[in-house]
């Protein structure tokens, strides 16, 4: 009881320091309240615009592919017919939809995404399991796509939805960060199927599971969408994993 009270007070105290900060729901779970304390503290104490370390091509390492490695796999519980068809056409018909708190909702083909000025970064992927790998990613900064769709000032978060039915989101600080990109290329080649083809997110200042693979749809929101029943917090995983 004391623990719960202290954590609650702590979380409340910190969140009141930045009055505009929204926090993911705790579902009455003390552990989620602790996650919120950590999120608030990191946002309050860490400088905003720092970049995760970038490496050289000599540092590129072997890279396991975990979780979903093919959303079209018939044996996959969330198998996607839509993905199978897209892949059969070499993603020629793929369109990334961008909607929500934007002035010009719409969609982008891979060719259109590749026509934006790109960013190439060699960064370290840190999995929550404890392993790490270094890879080179090339893609369009998420901020460019959001601005092209006319991101509204009221937008505070960006949600992502994948072909293997994942739903997750990040706050605007991470969304507009220069290293937050929609990657279509890995290690100088087309993004492999197992690593998220045709497009995966990179969120370099959080753990690997925020870097969603097989991105299908992006939604800018005013309120934090934690994915509800299919999202992480409801299923026991922290929403913010800068740590």
């Amino acid at each position: 009881m004391i623990v719960a009270g202290l954590t609650g007070v702590g979380g409340l105290l910190l969140s009141s320091c930045s009055s505009a900060e929204q926090l993911p729901p705790t579902y009455g779970n003390l552990l989620r309240a602790g996650d919120n304390l950590t999120y608030s503290a990191q946002r309050a104490l860490l400088p905003d615009g720092t970049l995760a370390r970038e490496y050289t091509t000599a540092d590129i390492s072997s890279f396991p592919a975990t979780g979903t490695v093919d959303p079209g796999d018939l044996k996959h519980p969330k198998t996607s017919e839509e993905f199978r068809q897209l892949r059969a056409g070499n993603f020629g018909s793929y369109r990334l939809t961008v909607e929500g708190a934007v002035a010009r909702p719409g969609s982008f083909s891979l060719a259109e995404l590749k026509s934006f000025p790109a960013r190439t970064q060699i960064t370290k992927h840190v999995c929550e399991e404890g392993w790490s790998a270094i890879g080179q990613w090339t893609g369009v900064p998420l901020s460019r796509v959001l601005y092209a769709a006319g991101l509204l000032p009221s937008a505070r978060f960006v949600s992502f939805h994948s072909y293997d039915d994942w739903s997750d989101s990040i706050d605007m600080l991470d969304a507009l960060h220069p290293q937050t990109i929609l990657a279509y290329s890995m290690n100088g080649r087309e993004l492999p199927l197992q690593h998220g083809a045709p497009l995966r997110l990179r969120v370099e200042r959080q753990l690997g599971y925020k870097s969603m693979k097989y991105v299908r749809r992006i939604v800018a929101t005013e309120f934090l969408d934690d994915g509800g029943d299919r999202g992480n917090p409801k299923n026991g995983w922290a929403w913010y994993v800068g740590i």
Binding site: R32, F63, C127, W131, N187, P192, R205, L207, G236
Partner: protein
């Protein structure tokens, strides 16, 4: 443990060489990977290509709630630990009770204390200091080495903190080095916890608990 392999440097995963593997869960040497082939060909012909492989093994993983509990406990450690540390320094507790005297650091003193411990000859509790030599060494090691290392290597593994303070990666030699040190610091603390609890029990459990909680101490 979800990933019972330890490495050194920045990178370490199931497709790279570990420095140590721990047989502590069904994930130990599970080998459940399907190769995807090379994923990067280095410029130097002598270097092996980087590979990708898809994991097919259903790993044991309770990290969701585990991590959250870990960091909640971390807040308690940092908040109460800082208070303890500051008080310990400014109230003179560390200087008076942790630092061994010149006489305690002689070869014969050391030998005596070690022998006493090996023979399980533990002094009866007074409910507080003075502490024996090995006891002082343990407390110094925990307060000034193991716990600060736990904290520092722990935050080094945070992507957000490492981005804000990249020198942390340089101090520890990379993410996986920090993780390995973090593990061994934990092991040292686990051993301390075991031995410490044993010593408290052996030297007079009731008196020690009363001393620790109510501050009641015998003057001898």
């Amino acid at each position: 443990m979800v990933h019972p392999r330890l490495y050194w440097g920045e990178v370490g995963n199931d497709l790279t060489e570990p420095i140590l593997e721990l047989p502590i869960s069904r994930n130990y040497k599970h080998g459940g990977y399907e190769s995807n082939g090379p994923i990067y060909q280095p410029a130097a012909a002598t270097q092996a290509p980087a590979i990708s492989a898809s994991r097919t093994f259903d790993i044991f993983n309770q990290n969701g709630w585990g991590r959250s509990l870990h960091f909640l406990a971390g807040w308690f450690l940092v908040i109460f630990g800082s208070v303890y540390f500051v008080l310990g320094i400014f109230a003179g507790h560390f200087r008076r009770n942790f630092l061994p005297s010149r006489y305690e650091l002689t070869a014969s003193s050391i030998r005596q204390d070690v022998t006493d411990h090996l023979r399980f000859r533990i002094r009866n509790a007074t409910g507080g200091p003075d502490y024996g030599l090995l006891q002082k060494a343990s407390y110094l090691g925990v307060v000034f080495l193991a716990l600060p290392l736990m904290f520092a290597t722990g935050i080094t593994m945070s992507p957000a903190v490492a981005a804000a303070f990249p020198f942390l990666l340089d101090i520890f030699g990379g993410h996986q080095s920090a993780r390995t040190v973090h593990f061994f610091a934990f092991a040292a603390l686990a051993v301390f916890l075991l031995v410490h609890t044993l010593m408290v029990a052996k030297s007079g459990f009731r008196k020690q608990i009363r001393g620790m909680t109510l501050g009641v101490k015998d003057e001898q």
